[in-house]
């Protein structure tokens, strides 16, 4: 988990892969995920601002970007099968970003784990 950095709102940024997703705790809290709405390639994302929506059976939740950057790839796999996020939230990235800034102030995995204890 050393490459993962977190927002307290349960999104992660994988520094090595430059990918963004939600934590295992978040997927558990959301429940069965049935739809994911992602930005398009070329869209800008802003740290602390919503960039995606995740619909569980219960409700819709906004997903906040942990960093600033530009979307260079979206994970098509989760558009077709959103439940994959429930199966493995840390492997199921949502977007890949470039020109990244704003990594400072994110929580490392130990710090993040402490917030959900």
């Amino acid at each position: 988990m050393k490459d993962f950095y977190f927002l307290p709102s349960h999104e992660w940024y994988n520094k090595k892969e430059a990918t963004v997703g939600i934590s295992d705790y978040a997927q558990k809290e959301l429940g069965d995920i049935v739809f994911v709405e992602l930005p398009e390639v070329g869209d800008k994302v802003e740290k602390g601002k919503p960039f995606a929506n995740v619909e569980s059976v219960k409700a819709v939740s906004e997903i906040f970007s942990p960093v600033n950057g530009e979307v260079v790839e979206i994970n098509e796999e989760i558009l077709d099968n959103p439940a994959l996020i429930n199966d493995d939230a840390f492997a199921m990235w949502m977007i890949k970003v470039a020109d990244v800034s704003g990594e400072e102030g994110l929580l490392n995995s130990d710090e993040y784990e402490n917030t959900i204890k």
Binding site: G31, D32, N53, V57
Partner: protein
Amino acid sequence: MKLTPFFEKMAANGAKMVEFTGYFLPIQFESSGIIAEHKAVREKAGLFDVSHMGELMLTGKDAFATIQSLVTNDITSMKDGQARYTLLPNEKGGIVDDILIYRFNEQKYMLVVNAANCAKDDQWISSRLLGDTVFENISERTAQLAIQGRAAEDIIKEFITVYNVPEKNYTFKVSVLFGEEIILSRTGYTGEDGFELYCSDKIAEQVFDLVVEKGNKHGMLLCGLGARDTLRMEASMPLYGHEMTDETLATELGLDFFIKLNKDFVGKQALLDKAPLCKRIGVRLVDRGIAREKALVFDSEDKEIGCVTSGTHSPTLGYPIAMLRVDRDFDGKEVYIDVRGKKLKAEVVPMPFYKKNY
């Protein structure tokens, strides 16, 4: 905040609790989740704590006349041991609640009402009693479990003698369990075969353990409010506060079968005078996304025609569905629903979205 008699049992079984109409109730269970619980009910069986529902007893020589004067359905033809769905309208033709009437005998009835409306119904009915009618609100001491799904009958028959198991839908039997009277009706809110069991809170935990022990053998899962909502939506059953409110005309819901204008009741004149302006329709989303309550609905000419009253992803069908309240004269085949600024296409489909085939 109130706790139902099953709270401890549910919590011990991994229930994730939410506040609902003043009670802590399970929304889902840790080990399963809404979709697994939903599928258990569709394929085998599920057990719900529905003790939050209200129960109002009306007894006496004029109990019949009191109820008949307050509800849209006609209870004249009801026999002992039958249950009947009806709307409880207000003077303006709006809806105070939608309820079930249980007839024990000519002078004894139980009304089962929505938890959120229990205090309102209590006030509404108890202030309109005719002649010799005794009113009692027994909600606080009444526990209720719903055992739903095609395996429900087998589960029930493991601990209730065949004679005391209601055979037909919307009938009920009274029997004794753990020394207390229980009411078992063949009713539910899931679109499946199933039962609702009313008992005294004194024996609630014993009854729960018994149902779980027998149910486990038949693949029954504990279920929460989340699955209850997706199940009733697939069956296109209206939910008070969503499809209907005090302001919704009783004639705007497609429930005309339950409105009998050949008898008198509070609000009948309003229903005769006012033309319904809206209707309830069902749609299947064609575009990706989920249309939630309050989302605005447009026709193909981009004219606003109404809003979503309930919407979800249908676990059984595998696509998103929604119930809409739209202009009465809309007769198109497709609509566009505004979901966070995007107009998602949806096609009008017949309700119920799901129908059991056994």
